[in-house]
Amino acid sequence: MAPNAAAGADTFPKLLIRNAHLYGARPAMRHKDLGIWQTWTWREVHEVVRAYAVGLHNLGVKRGETIAIVGGNRPKLYWSVMAAQVLGAIPVPVYADAVADELAFVLAHADVRFAAVEDQEQVDKIQSVMNRVPKLEMMFYDEKRGLRDYDHSKLRAMDDVIADGRKALADPAVAAWLDKEIESAKGSDPSIILYTSGTTGTSKGVVLTGEGSINAASDTVAFDKLTETDVALAYLPLAWVGDHYLNYAQGLVSGFCTACPESPDTAMADLREIGPSFYFAPPRTLELLLTRVMIRMEDAGLMKRKLFHYFIDVARRHGEHILNGEHVPLSGRLLYAIGNVLVYGPLKNVLGFSRVRVAYTAGEAVGPDLFSFYRSIGLNLKQLYGQTEAFLYLTAQPDGEIYSDTVGPACPNVDIRISENGEVQFKSPGMFSCYFKDAAKTAEVMTPDGYVKTGDAGFFDEKTGHLKIIDRTKDVGKLNDGTMFPPKYIENKLKFYPNIREAVALGDKHDFVTVMLNIDLTAVGSWAERNNVVYGSYQELAGHPLVYDILEKHVAEVNRSLAADKVMAGAQVKRFLILHKELDPDDGEITRTLKVRRGFIADRYAPLINALYDGSNEADISTEVTFEDGRKGTISARVKIRGMKTEPIPAMGKAA
């Protein structure tokens, strides 16, 4: 199937037609709605999308212009993407939880005349910034609720658009015209514009072509042997490259079924119901899940807890070897088999992983323990590495070659090189054509010989030939004594502790390393409950001396592990503090994909950072916060700082 997967189809609409022929009666899309999994076959999707496209055309959507897609993972929004592409228009997905400001920026920057939105909430949001998006002419909404009394001169229900299109399509001339529209589209035309979350500064619109996307997706579909019988749950933001690549592009290429959860809140339960065979989760989600597993197990009876930990330990020893098909003693295999019946099988079942054949994680470095935990219980979790500009993937780990500290070798047809300053650069089938309306920035990331700069520092591991990513090139700093300081590396080690939700390591151009920590309210809160520690708020709990004691232990352990590595030994943490508030994307402290925005944090928490280095034991801070409803307020606190003992640096040559 895979080799000719995309044969002859260089745009997604052409793939849709192919799927309607090839897999006509197979499910293309499911959506948990009204209590059951509503299902559409490829044939049905094809029919709806055609009708939708004609409806859009009649409302004035033209080839080459942009149309915003705002909302969660819902079939009609995916169909909006498809319908736009059928007409040769360029969909621009926007994060559903984007605040009005971000939304206005993207809509205005992308020059959208039309927007397909999920519901009243999004309509309201867009209407509130209407004056900043003068070109916007009309919105199409999926969810009718509450919109009946709105002025409908600029609003249409998607259902109505589709119904109109369906009526028009009855005319064979229209159908023929549509066929020609699809046929005449070129693979090199822009297929979609994905706005990057923008780790630094404002977001940029990454333009991807149909042909590039399809070629890229075909390669990975073949790589993981995905077929039309696979199932994936689309629960990641529609506007993120990951969703577009993993679910949309791979789905169309392989013909697998994409399932949409009922709502973001029910994604976990829906995951369990649908039981996907292909699964992707950012390390963040995996971490959260593991934390939750451990917390729930804390509440189990003694026997069950012992059983659980015993077999998790068995899995830790043998699980990965068994998964990798390596030699394992018979006793180990037997114990693992028992564990599989008693613990791993049920655990995967309640998490919804029972049927997962291929699982990926990417986005940021994954803690080794976290990674091997999932692998040890038999989940075929692999890492991939990439970015929006590459249509997500550059490297991926093949089955059987899994190392937690590498991201795998370059994918088929991907060309990767390491520049002299250690930066990873690539050429790939899926690479973007340009940043939308931003030739300067495009030029900035392209090398003269046509490679794209990733901005990540990395190197190929000599032993395995896999790529290893250290950190963002610009983030890797140096302590004043010249020791290398990769903040992410340290942060990730800290964040593996369930009690630590977020960590920000500091040290570049300083004498030593310090960290600012966020506790995990669920994990520490549950600890507090068990130990009768009373607290009224996050802030109070974060400042509790006993909580500091716990985190001090974690930091000390991290120091020990850093000390074991000769390169990193100098970067042990000397002082730390626990932040009085959670880092929040609404406050701009982390991105929507939950990456730390260092520069911003450095400004915002300057008083704390100063205190970390001037030797004081506490510092006052007051920060502005944005509440969920958009109001702003200030919280202030006095934050305590703790010093750490560091491990002696091992003699050279002893390590490794």
Partner: protein, 358 residues
């Protein structure tokens, strides 16, 4: 632990409203039916079939009947024994008058007589509730018991005052009377119980079940949502009595083989009620659990101490049995007022979320 529900999803309401939506439950049910229909008749001893399984199934059926009324509709009845008696005597009279019609038909038909009587005594339920209604059903119990004892027409004017079950066959195989084998009778009883349990489960999972439960939980609100109280309650009485009536007929025709009128006295009513309470009000599964516990526990008490070499007088056993049943009831009400069914559900839930505690 054994539940692997990941990937079991419903794409239409017909599948979602199924009585057993979980695959593992369907498998489990299949295994139980296989044991009941194949393993037990094949390998079970005569004692197991005759003295344990047949009465257990019959009492389960009666408990289901009472549960429909008391557990689902919230109408406390102490007249179960009498309604069972109506079934038994109706069947007896029918098979006397029409000996050529197959006994299976008469056993089923006897339920209708019982249902009619049930409706009659259910009439007061429109005006009276709770304890008062319980007493009204006691009236049925005493009146009907009296009929069975004092009205010779019921027992065909036999001198003994008891009824004798005649031999009747199906396809040439005797299924009632002295010549019917244990296994044959077991199959007949099993057939009745399986079909009627299935039907009851259909009922309680649909509109009628919801109407009953609505009346049970909040009768005023039920009325205001358009549920007519009297027909709903009478339907519960009729259905419940039908089940009890069939159970009564089975009891006499396929277990005892004959009956003194005293069989259907108020103690039988209490006996069935205990099964329902201990099993769990408002649960069909619970009815089986309750019947198992209340019926099988005395058997264990009677047969095990002697086997272990503990000499124990039969009368003493009976006294202890009373004490144990009494204590069990109190214990259950304190520990788990919702009965064994609730424990079963908790256990099942634990298995579903295993290894998590919740």
């Amino acid at each position: 632990m054994f539940y692997r529900e990941a990937g079991q999803f419903k794409t239409n309401y017909a599948a979602d409203v199924a009585v057993f939506p979980i695959l593992q439950d369907r498998i489990g049910l299949g295994i139980i039916l296989f044991i009941a229909a194949v393993i037990i008749p094949w390998f079970g001893s005569s004692f197991l079939i005759q003295a344990v399984m047949i009465p257990f199934l019959i009492f389960s059926l009666a408990a289901i009947g009472l549960n429909l009324l008391t557990g689902y509709t919230g109408l406390l009845s102490l007249g179960t024994g009498a309604f069972m008696g109506v079934g038994a005597y109706a069947c007896y009279k029918l098979t006397t008058y029409f000996p050529n019609v197959n006994i299976i038909i008469w056993i089923a038909a006897s339920g209708f007589f019982s249902a009619a009587i049930g409706v009659l005594f259910g009439l007061p339920s429109l005006r009276i509730k709770g304890f008062y209604l319980a007493v009204a059903t006691l009236a049925a119990q005493f009146f009907l018991s009296w009929c069975f004892i004092r009205q010779p027409w019921f027992y065909n004017y036999n001198v003994s005052g008891a009824i004798e079950v005649p031999t009747r066959s199906l396809f040439g195989v005797p299924i009632t009377g002295a010549t019917a084998t244990d296994t044959t009778r077991y199959f007949v009883v099993l057939g009745f119980v399986v079909v009627m349990t299935w039907a009851a489960s259909n009922l309680v999972h649909g509109r009628i079940g919801r109407m009953w439960m609505a009346v049970r939980d909040m009768d005023l609100a039920a009325e205001l949502t358009g549920i007519r109280l009297l027909p709903t309650k009478l339907l519960a009485f009729a259905t419940s009595s039908f089940y009890c009536g069939v159970a009564g007929a089975l009891l006499v025709f396929l277990w005892y083989g004959g009956a003194e009128p005293a069989v259907f006295d108020v103690n039988l009513s209490f006996f069935i009620l205990f099964m329902v309470i201990i099993g769990g009000l408002g649960s069909l599964t619970g009815s089986f659990f309750g019947a198992a516990l209340i019926f099988i526990m005395p058997i264990v008490l009677r047969y095990f101490p002697p086997k272990l070499g503990i000499p124990i007088h039969p009368a003493t056993v009976e006294h202890i049995q009373y004490m144990v049943i009494g204590a069990l009831i109190i214990l259950f009400l304190i520990a788990e007022p919702a009965g064994l069914a609730r424990l079963w559900q908790i256990g099942k839930q634990k298995l579903r979320v295993w290894p998590f505690p919740y």
